[in-house]
C-alpha cells in the first residue's frame, strides 16, 4: 500500500463518515460541521485526482460560502435539536429511502463491476471524441488554471454566460424573497 492509497482511504473514510454522521445527527449545527468535514475530504480527493483548481474551489465555495450560509441560517432561525415526534424517522419514508438506496447501490455495483468502458482502455474511453468546438480537437486534461480558463472562455462560452445569468437571477430572486412585504401582514 503506497502513500496515495493511504490518502485515498483516509479521505474516503472521512467523506463517507461525515456524510453518514451528517444525515443521522440530531442537531443542525453538528450536521453542518460533519458536512464541512465531508466537503473538505472531497476536496482532498480532488487533489488526489490532480484537479487542484477544483479542490481550491471546493474549499472556497462549499466549505466556505455555502456552509457559512447554512450556519448563518441555522443560527438566525435558532433551530435546536429535533425534539419529540419530529426527531423520529417516519417508518414509510425510512423504508422507501432504504429500498431506493439498496436498489441504487446494487445497480451502481453492477455498473462498476463489469465496467469495462470506464478504465479498461482509458486512452480511448470517451467514445464521442468529436465533441469539441475548438479546432475540432477535444480539451485535454490539465492541472493548470490556464487551461480551465481557456476551456471556459472558448468551448463553454455560452454556458458560462448562462451560469452568470443564473447567478444574477438567483440574486434577484433571493432579494425579492427575503424582502419584507408590507402588504403581507
Amino acid at each position: 500500500m503506497n502513500f496515495v492509497d493511504l490518502l485515498f482511504l483516509i479521505f474516503a473514510t472521512l467523506a463517507l463518515g461525515g456524510g453518514v454522521l451528517m444525515i443521522f445527527s440530531r442537531h443542525p449545527v453538528s450536521a453542518a460541521m460533519f458536512m464541512i468535514v465531508s466537503m473538505v475530504s472531497v476536496a482532498g480527493l480532488f487533489v488526489l485526482l490532480e484537479a487542484f483548481f477544483l479542490a481550491i474551489l471546493q474549499v472556497l465555495v462549499y466549505a466556505g460560502a455555502v456552509m457559512v450560509l447554512f450556519l448563518f441560517i441555522i443560527m438566525l432561525l435558532d433551530v435546536g435539536p429535533d425534539a419529540g415526534k419530529t426527531s423520529r424517522v417516519k417508518f414509510i419514508s425510512g423504508l422507501a429511502g432504504v429500498v431506493c438506496f439498496g436498489i441504487l447501490m446494487v445497480l451502481c455495483l453492477i455498473a462498476v463491476v463489469d465496467a469495462s468502458p470506464v478504465c479498461g482502455s482509458c486512452s480511448s474511453w470517451p467514445a464521442l471524441s468529436e465533441n469539441s468546438l475548438v479546432n475540432g480537437q477535444s480539451l485535454l486534461f490539465s492541472t493548470s488554471v490556464k487551461s480551465f480558463g481557456f476551456g471556459l472562455f472558448s468551448k463553454y462560452m455560452l454556458p458560462i454566460q448562462v451560469a452568470g445569468f443564473l447567478l444574477l437571477a438567483a440574486m434577484v430572486g433571493v432579494i425579492i424573497l427575503s424582502k419584507r412585504v408590507a402588504l403581507d401582514r
Partner: protein, 102 residues
C-alpha cells in the same frame, strides 16, 4: 488494496450520492434536506472529476464548475425560501408545510 483505480473513486461517488439521497428521503428537517442535496451534488462532482481524469478529458472538470455554480444558486434560493416559510409557519420541518396533503 494494491492501487487506486477510477473504479474506487466511482464507487465512493456512488456511495456519497446514495447517502445524500437517503438523507433527502428520510430527514424531515428542511435544512438537513438541503445539506443532503449538497452531498448528492458532491458525489456527482467526484464522479465527473474521476471520469475526466481517467479519460484525460477536461470537459468533466469544466462541468464541475457549472455544477458548483448551480449548487450555490440553489442553496441561496432554497435558504431564502426556507426563511420565508419559517416566517409563515414558525417551523422548518417538512410535515408542517403539508397544506396540500389532505
Amino acid at each position: 488494496m494494491e492501487y487506486v483505480t477510477p473504479q474506487h473513486f466511482l464507487l465512493l461517488s456512488f456511495l456519497l450520492f446514495g447517502v445524500g439521497f437517503l438523507g433527502v428521503v428520510i430527514r424531515r428537517n428542511l435544512l438537513l434536506v438541503l445539506m443532503s442535496l449538497e452531498l448528492m451534488l458532491n458525489g456527482v462532482n467526484l464522479a465527473l472529476v474521476s471520469f475526466s481524469r481517467a479519460g484525460l478529458n477536461l470537459d468533466g472538470s469544466l462541468f464541475v464548475f457549472f455544477i458548483m455554480t448551480v449548487a450555490a444558486a440553489e442553496v441561496a434560493v432554497g435558504l431564502a425560501l426556507l426563511v420565508a416559510l419559517y416566517k409563515k409557519r414558525r417551523s422548518v420541518f417538512s410535515e408542517d408545510a403539508a397544506l396540500l396533503q389532505n
